[in-house]
């Protein structure tokens, strides 16, 4: 049993309450496994009860998760040859029981074969599931971590050299302007002050509550997840800062594809990134070392975006530590300039 913190501490400290809950749930999971291993619940009853649980489950659980799908299959895999005989009519139970007795040899023979088949099928799927899980575990060990958000005081704040040039030309007719990673909303606030309809997305914990209360439209969400959910051509501008610097080639490719889809024709994609020199500088955060990717040269960004139909301008930062890429989406989309 876990040691219990004082009630007052838990109530005042959400993270302590969350840790406590996680430990209790882990203990409950262990207890469930112990009981399952003891075989104390008849299999048929357990399947029936689990099927009841899934009857009004969310759509994604019904069709999305392999574990849930297998659970649902297993719950319905057993065909019971023993037909219920209860009846509200007088003599009904007797008649049903007699019929059941008379047909049991036949029904039992057929259902035994079906049950053998379903048991083999579900077992096969379980074996497959196990193999997929093993593969997943092996992949996890080799998985490249997602690029973190980088934040350096001189590069990511209201005083940075690139802020004014980035804001120039950003306006909201034709859609909203999105800033990611938005941190506490400082750039969204600057845009709003200019009369631009802007909002921000910030993937890190604990960065946006205060700004949200102050009336800015800020959300804590992963940037990719957010971009996948915006409408096609719905953004007049997309400003990416601290996001692309240490992305892997795969992440960058997905990001460009999502940005190209989201930014409306004539809209702006603004990318701020550290340069290789900035990445190697003494004050670069430790994420720079730990990340799987490394910054691109500004002209590589230009080439990548031009390939996707953007008209690109590059501004190099002082001392060559960072740069700004300002790309304008072609009117009429990539097709209009013959790149798609």
């Amino acid at each position: 049993m876990i040691p219990e913190p004082e009630t007052s501490e838990r109530g005042d400290d959400p993270s302590s309450a969350q840790r406590y809950l996680a430990t209790v749930m882990a203990e409950i999971d262990d207890e469930v496994e112990r009981r399952r291993a003891s075989g104390d619940l008849p299999q048929r009853l357990e399947h029936e009860l689990d099927e009841l649980f899934l009857r009004f489950s969310p759509m994604a659980s019904r069709f999305g998760g392999l574990e849930e799908a297998l659970g649902s299959l297993e719950a319905s895999a057993y065909i019971d040859p023993v037909v219920p005989v209860a009846s509200s009519k007088s003599g009904g139970t007797f008649v049903k029981r007699s019929l059941r007795r008379a047909s049991m040899w036949y029904v039992g023979w057929v259902t035994a074969q079906i049950n053998q088949f379903t048991a083999a099928a579900t077992r096969t799927l379980r074996v497959l599931d196990d193999r997929v899980r093993t593969l997943q575990r092996q992949l996890e060990a080799q998985q490249v971590p997602a690029a973190p958000v980088l934040e350096i005081a001189w590069a990511h704040g209201p005083g940075a050299w690139w802020v004014d040039p980035a804001l120039r030309g950003l306006s909201s007719p034709g859609g909203r302007v999105l800033h990611a990673a938005a941190a506490d909303g400082w750039l969204v606030h600057r845009l709003a002050t200019k009369g631009v309809d802007a909002y921000g997305v910030e993937p890190r914990d604990g960065r946006i509550d205060l700004a949200e209360v102050e009336g800015l439209d800020l959300r804590q969400e992963p940037v990719f997840e957010h971009l996948r959910a915006v409408g096609t051509d719905s953004l007049a501008g997309l400003v990416l800062t601290g996001v692309v610097d240490v992305m892997t080639a795969g992440e960058r490719s997905v990001l460009i594809e999502l940005a190209t889809r989201a930014v409306a024709p004539g809209g702006r994609l603004v990318v701020h990134s550290l340069s290789e020199a900035g990445w190697r500088s003494e004050d670069a955060p430790i994420e720079a070392d730990a990340a799987a990717g490394r910054p691109l040269r500004s002209r590589t960004w230009a080439a990548l975006l031009e390939r996707d139909g953007f008209k690109v301008a590059v501004l190099e930062g002082p001392e060559g530590l960072d740069y700004l890429v300002v790309a304008t989406a072609a009117e009429g989309g990539p097709e209009a300039v013959g790149v798609r």
């Binding site: 219990e4 009630t7 007052s8 838990r10 109530g11 005042d12 959400p14 302590s16 309450a17 969350q18 406590y20 809950l21 209790v24 749930m25 203990e27 409950i28 999971d29 207890e31 469930v32 009981r35 399952r36 619940l41 009853l45 357990e46 009860l49 689990d50 009841l52 649980f53 009857r55 009004f56 489950s57 969310p58 759509m59 994604a60 659980s61 849930e68 659970g71 909201s172 859609g175 909203r176 999105l178 009369g195 309809d197 909002y199 209360v213 009336g215 439209d217 959300r219 804590q220 969400e221 997840e225 957010h226 971009l227 959910a229 915006v230 409408g231 096609t232 719905s234 953004l235 989201a262």
Partner: protein, 397 residues
Amino acid sequence: MKVVFVTPRYDPAAIGGAESAARLLAEHLALEPGLEVCAYSTCALDHLNWENQLPAGTSTLNGVTVTRFEVAEPRRKAFFELDGRLRHAPRRASWEESERWLRLNGPDAPGLLEALRSGDADVAVFSPYLFLTTVAGIRAAPMPTVLHSAAHDEPPLYLGAIRDAFVRADALCYYTAAERRLVQRIHPVAEKPQVVLGVGLGEPVEGGRRGGEILGIGERPYLAFVARIDAHKGADMLDRYFRTYKQRHPGPLTLALVGPVSTEIEPHPDVVVTGTVDEPTKWDLLRDATAFVHPGALESFSLAIMEAWEQGVPVVVNALCEPTREHCAHSGGGLWFGSYREFEAVIDRLAGDEKLRKSLGANGRAYVQAHYQWSALVPRYVRFLGSVAERARGARR
């Protein structure tokens, strides 16, 4: 600023979480200076038949000017046939099928749509997403629209006509971040102005009676379920699970099913069905419960969970219901189950561990106090509505 709320039903007697939440929000907004709040709704009280039960016309309810319009025709049997078919593969339903589903789902109140078209409100607020008043209303409204979707991960959410409503709405209001994730997973609306608000909690009004006395079980401990007693809310499952639990774990623990009854519950010595109760009785029942069980998998917020936590009672929720599970995980105020075995282990643990119950209850209460007080929610929402109206004015300029 003039705000009009549009809901299929608008009355304290109408049982429906999203509509109740919209009504409570409207009533709290009506207390704010500089805001004129009205509501358009139908004369129906029962969403299963849409029969006109309330008089048409305008009246005032708790500071809100309410105008009710007659429903043109009650729900037809054809709805259930089409619904049953589309539920299996909603993504494959054609636009025409989804439009037909929506028309049959109703409620069809032509007067309401006409009033919206000629209305002078600065913003129109619609809830929940599922009904014709919302989808057709968003199409008809000349003013900026805010959709309080109250979305669950259920088949209709995937229909084309529903997607149209989400895409057409000018702004969105969610109960929880989990609801936002769900909607954004299905519809391309992430760029729209939005707010995650939730629902505020009023002060508990207790009746001063012991819960056991109300239930007629004396000092026996009990689990409380407070919602519509039907299969969609998980009441069938809870009843069955509890009976199995009692067979395997005899003892004094009782189950109290509190709410309007829409499904048959067989008599059982350890199950008490109260039917609908008044507010003080509900608060008394919650206060003395061993735990509050909310087994529904299709919830977008659950005010009942907040009420249980307000009374310092731990909750037990369905592991597949993302919003209620997220409430528990964030607050540390409740446990969840994803199978009968887990249900059994959770109830065993809660029933036998008073310290754990107190801890979870205290965590839940702190969570409600921090996040779901009207005094904090209303100013945020007023600012949000103001920004939606201002944005529309900017677009017109």
